[in-house]
């Protein structure tokens, strides 16, 4: 089957490898240090560069920006959770909430086959011309996978949709082993579909990297950490996998590696709702609120993860009280105060964006009114039950926006690459016409 595929034209095809949460800096360090020889070889044949992620810099928003090539004001995914319209109840957007066409839908309309494996925010699977198994947050493999034939295969090999994070309750080592196990089975599935099924566009995403970073970043930084070698070995395994993938692409088939955000060690978590409470912007009926249904009507602002500020506007929320006259001054005041927020004498917030500066499109009304970005090492959180403004949580690694990675096996000379630019680049490689992207083609 592989021979048959190789005989076909290598033009108008593309392989994309996603590595969730992998930082460009770390890859450059590991290639330089000789830990990732395959990647060093791959890099010598093309261009590797840092890339900015979406804002907010989280997987659901960033991968959706990747797959649609438009900003959240058009695709509609601002985060992992929202409040239901006209209510304070949680709502969790899924694939049905993506309001722009995905790369594989665009390709499918032009007769191209796509294989899409483990891309976050694609659950439940929507039918496509090709094969898809969804990534985080996927609940049920059957609903995550299209068509049935792919489900049968994945079920038979014992495919894993995600790492079993609960293992950490047993021990960090148990989690480490589980990360390795999930990666091994994912690699197997990716190589199987790549070798045995027809495709024009192949996308395979590794999410174990992100889980490794969140729970074991401390192991990377500390050479005496019992899992230090595990961390390095995991990147060696990733390197071998990238080598296998590149082998199949050769120098001819366009080959892209990208991540959805970078990662870095967490110095402190910053609880923005606690900060709002302390400054009188947010009030709850209970001492230990569980949801925003426990919020008092006079509240002016609240935060959803990671740092999306919503003004409690009259007319938008059942008990909203901020009038349109107050709105602009309130946002300005919040922005100024947030930029001064410091913990242990260090400033925490690098930038605060107003929604009209970040987003455009027919879904801007649903956008957060303000979004904050932290200085590296500060992890902004929307937890609602915290009483202190800062603290340490159970995660040791957090996200960065500026240090995502983009690689292509072509020499390109473009700076200021954002993840929104990847989709127009891919359609161009596939020789597909499509108007309406917000990003720019990089080749």
């Amino acid at each position: 089957m592989l021979g048959f595929l190789k005989k076909k034209s290598k033009h108008n095809k593309a392989i994309v490898v996603g590595i969730d949460g992998v930082s460009c800096r770390l890859l450059n360090r590991f290639t330089k240090e000789g830990l990732m020889p395959n990647l060093a070889d791959i890099v010598s044949k093309g261009t590797i560069t840092d890339m900015t992620a979406s804002i907010p810099e989280i997987s659901s928003t960033s991968w959706t920006t990747f797959m649609t090539g438009v900003n959240p004001g058009k695709h509609g995914i601002y985060g992992f959770m929202e409040l239901q319209k006209g209510s304070y109840k949680w709502r969790f957007p899924n694939s049905a909430d993506i309001k722009s066409k995905t790369l594989w839908e665009i390709a499918g309309e032009q007769g191209k086959k796509s294989i899409v494996l483990n891309v976050p925010s694609t659950y439940p699977a929507r039918p496509l011309n090709g094969i898809l198994t969804a990534g985080f947050v996927a609940l049920d493999l059957k609903k995550a996978t299209y068509p049935d034939m792919a489900y049968e295969y994945l079920k038979n090999i014992g495919y894993r949709m995600d790492v079993d994070i609960k293992k950490v309750q047993e021990s960090v080592q148990a989690l480490a082993l589980d990360i390795e196990e999930a990666f091994t089975i994912r690699e197997k599935a990716i190589l199987y579909f790549l070798d045995n099924h027809a495709w024009d566009l192949f996308i395979g995403v590794i999410t174990e990297t992100d889980r490794l970073h969140h729970y074991l970043w401390s192991a990377l930084e500390d050479e005496k950490h019992p899992q230090h070698n595990f961390f390095l070995d995991f990147y060696r395994k990733l390197d071998t996998f990238l080598g296998k993938m590149y082998e199949r692409a050769g120098d001819d088939i366009p080959f892209i590696i990208l991540s959805d955000h970078g990662s870095i060690g967490i110095k402190q978590e910053i609880y923005l709702n606690a900060w709002l409470k302390e400054n009188g912007y947010l009030k709850f009926k209970k001492e230990n609120p569980e949801t925003f249904e426990d919020m008092l009507p006079e509240s002016k602002t609240f935060v959803l993860d990671p740092a999306r500020f919503y003004i409690h506007s009259k007319g938008k929320y059942p008990q909203g009280n901020v009038t349109s006259d107050e709105y602009y001054n309130l946002r300005q005041k919040l922005k100024e105060e947030l930029l001064l927020l410091s913990v242990n004498g260090e400033k925490v917030i690098r930038s605060v964006f107003l929604k009209e500066g970040l987003y455009s499109g027919n879904l801007v009304d649903e956008a957060p009114d303000l979004v904050a970005l932290p200085y590296e090492g500060y992890d902004l959180k929307g937890a609602i039950n915290k009483t202190q403004i800062s603290g340490k949580g159970f995660l040791t690694g957090g996200h960065t926006r500026d240090d995502a990675v983009f690689y292509i096996n072509r020499k390109i000379n473009v700076t200021n690459i954002n993840i929104i630019d990847v989709a127009p680049t891919i359609t161009s490689l596939l020789k597909i016409e499509h108007n309406g992207f917000d990003g720019k083609c990089l080749i």
């Binding site: 006209g86 209510s87 969790f92 959180k381």
Partner: protein
Amino acid sequence: MELNEREKLMALNLEEKINQSKKVIKEAIEKFGTEKLAVAWTGGKDSTTMTWLFREACRDLNIPMPKIMFIDEGYVFEEIWDIVNQLKKDWNLNVIIAKNTDVSDKAKNIGDMIKVSSLNERNRSEIVTLGFDGEEFPFEPESYVGNHLMKTVAMNTFLEENGILALATAIRWDEQTARIEETYFSPRSNPSHVRVQPILHFKERDIWNFIFAYKVPFCVLYNDGYRSLGAKGSTTKMSDIPAWEQDLENTSERAGRGQNKEEIMGKLRDLGYM
């Protein structure tokens, strides 16, 4: 119900499933009579199937059809009204529209704010029970105040005013995991009545096989790719191809609607969110 029992019922062929449903319907009629029994109809594929089965059962027994309750929550698809009006005429149904007009009269458009003080005592006390203490709320049928007033209160008022002891609804076991515990007869309180659920054992595929085999008319929205119909504005389609041509076994019927919140929240918490 035993797990095996449920699996056996779900594995029946279409004719056996139809007979099983008619058996449940006849048992309900025997228990409650047609006067005290009502059929909840949404104009969707499942409750239309159930209504058809009721007609068959009543024809077998040579008795009149029970009342049909249709809840108008203020944001009904035009295409749903079309099928409701057509079948009401063609099947000669006694359809009673349950609508909380005390609420809907106060709003012109979806999203309009309604003052709590403008409502009647019943609606005001329902709002207090909900724990909502705002002065006004938006007219959004799927929001928590709106949903309660326009659906639950409308339904309860219908049950009370008509002295209904049993209400037949068209839920199915395979719709979502949370329905697995449901039984054919399920008692409810406030107001006290019994839910009769005669098509629990139908799968989504069975519904479409039934609709085509018996040439049952259905709402045109299913042609456009809708799989499951809720209120307009909160229901999305999963695909542009007709519902019955979609991969029913491998994709989620209610993905355009509900979600498994607790499980999602658990996964998000593992990654430091929430």
